[in-house]
Amino acid sequence: MKLNSLTLKATIDKLKAKEISHADLYKDVHDAIAEKNGLLNIYLSLDPTAVTKAEALLDTPLAGAPIAVKDNFLTVGLETTASANVLKGFKPPAESHVTTKLKAAGGVIVGKTNMDAWAHGSSTETSDFGPTKNPRNPEYLPGGSSGGSAAAIAADLAVGALGTETAGSIRQPASWCGVVGLKPTYGRVSRSGVIAMASSTDSPGPIGKTVEDCAILLTHIAGKDPYDATTLPKPVPDYTAHMRDGVKGMRIGICYMDHPQLKGTDVDRAVTKAGKVFEALGATVEVVPLSKTLEKGKILTPDYAIGVYTVVQRSEVSSNLARFDGIRYGNDRSFFAHEALNRIMLGTFTLSKGYADKYYVRAQQVRTLYRQNFAELFGTYDILLASPSPGYALAAGASSGDPLFGELQDMLVEPSSLVGNTGISVPCFTDPKTNLPLGLNIMGDQWQEEKILKAAYAFEQATDWNPWAK
């Protein structure tokens, strides 16, 4: 057995028990990278000293395990570009809070992973350094924007990974690549040292082979950071502690499957079947009907979230990317590629005088309706089930020429992302013809990471869709 195919949990256990050595582990990881990275284009940069760093970390919680990190986390000593030519050659003078915590816990960064440039997209095709391919079937997209990190896990090129999500950027690539991805509550994991995209929703989080691996990583990266005022001083539990408690008595609602775009699809069938799995495990499962207006007991259609997200995200992008002027670092603004131009300029428009009330304020008002809707539903249900994506991974090339590609792919996660809720995607089906998986999106209220992990773990154990979980 190649050691790169181990889960994070097994890697830590075997290293600590001295059943395997760091040298053998990193050799297998680097051999796999040498074999597959040419085709899949997952890593943008690698740390050749990773194994030496790892050997000194045996007595830490993560024991020197090899972790893939999305290229929008600032890392001292490793070039950080957010897959954008504007930042080509940028060597950060400071480390992101999350990677600082990861390293302190004994995680070692193997390399930086490809992404949609500036995290603008859901395909990893908008990277200025070429698209990443889906390890499950290289004719298809890995999803995005954390497509490189999800693909690194799917191809066993690391044992754990970090991504970031604004709306779907962890869960959608996890779903398309057949791995597990957790989007934490907004403010649970610090954004400091992460190249900003949409500051009011950006949430760094783990991507792993199993639910337990995500729980382990989250435990080590979450918490208050004095350099990110939106993080909260809530205590960080050991997220694996209650993971095995089961779902008996849990109240579960199924959402969005009666949407005209989903009814009768494989996604509808897989999510409905997942509901039956939870029922058999002792939970109460109901369908939450879709509604075009805010109504008690119903879920507000995700259709409006596309508009809200588009305005909020473009507006925040135009503000955040104003700093890239080529003076302190990077290249000048003529280096922005098409997708970034598109977003910066549309956001400049929606925030401009005379239009800000019409678009930005209205979008933030509709955002309030989604908050009220979820607050009411989480009074009734412990968790909500849906899919992170309306379907399977799309074929390579699918994102080109559509200015709303990402928004349409992510519409099922946009409502919950806009309100700051947590969610986790776990594999729930594989199409035998294409080998492409589907993910189940288990959504919780803010700060309910332990609840969604409990449900995700129970589902993973009760089904055969995740090969690493056995």
């Binding site: 050659g89 940028f90 060597k91 003078p93 400071a94 509550t185 907004y186 403010g187 009011s200 004095p226 350099y227 005022a229 939106t230 909260l232 207006t293 259709d303 409006y304 596309i306 508009g307 809200v308 588009t310 305005v311 135009s318 104003a322 002027d325 080529g326 003076i327 302190r328 670092y329 990077g330 290249n331 603004r333 003529s334 922005f336 098409h338 131009l341 598109n342 910066i344 300029m345 549309l346 400049t348 428009f349 929606t350 401009s352 678009y359 209205r362 979008a363 933030q364 008002q365 509709v366 955002r367 309030t368 309706l369 908050r371 200015p403 709303l404 928004e407 806009l418 700051g420 803010q446």
Partner: protein, 101 residues
């Protein structure tokens, strides 16, 4: 299609505000994309938001303050600050002239 129809010159006006050079061919292409995108955003006019407050922050935090003290932990040395700059002069950043004589 509802919403706003963007022209190439609308795009050039926004490009100036965003401080990004845009060729005429690119401006035509972006104009078509903006028109398409804003038609989708226009769907929001169908939602009744009368009396609904705007959401700017989702976790309920207000006025997060800290002491106004210099934090030496996060100060770059002059070398670090200049390390990634393409143009420097005698330990300073070089910037383009913005004022005319």
């Amino acid at each position: 299609m509802k919403g706003i129809a963007f022209s190439s010159s609308d795009v050039q006006k926004i490009a100036k505000l965003a401080n990004i050079p845009v060729t005429d061919t690119l401006a035509d292409d972006l104009a078509a994309g903006f028109t398409k995108t804003m038609a989708v955003v226009d769907e929001l006019t169908k939602v009744n938001v009368e009396g609904v407050e705007a959401t700017n922050q989702v976790t309920g935090l207000e006025n997060v303050l800290r002491e106004d003290e210099i934090d030496t932990q996060r100060i770059f040395t002059q070398e670090q600050a200049l390390a990634n700059a393409k143009r420097t002069h005698n330990g300073y950043f070089v910037v383009d002239q913005i004022l005319e004589d």
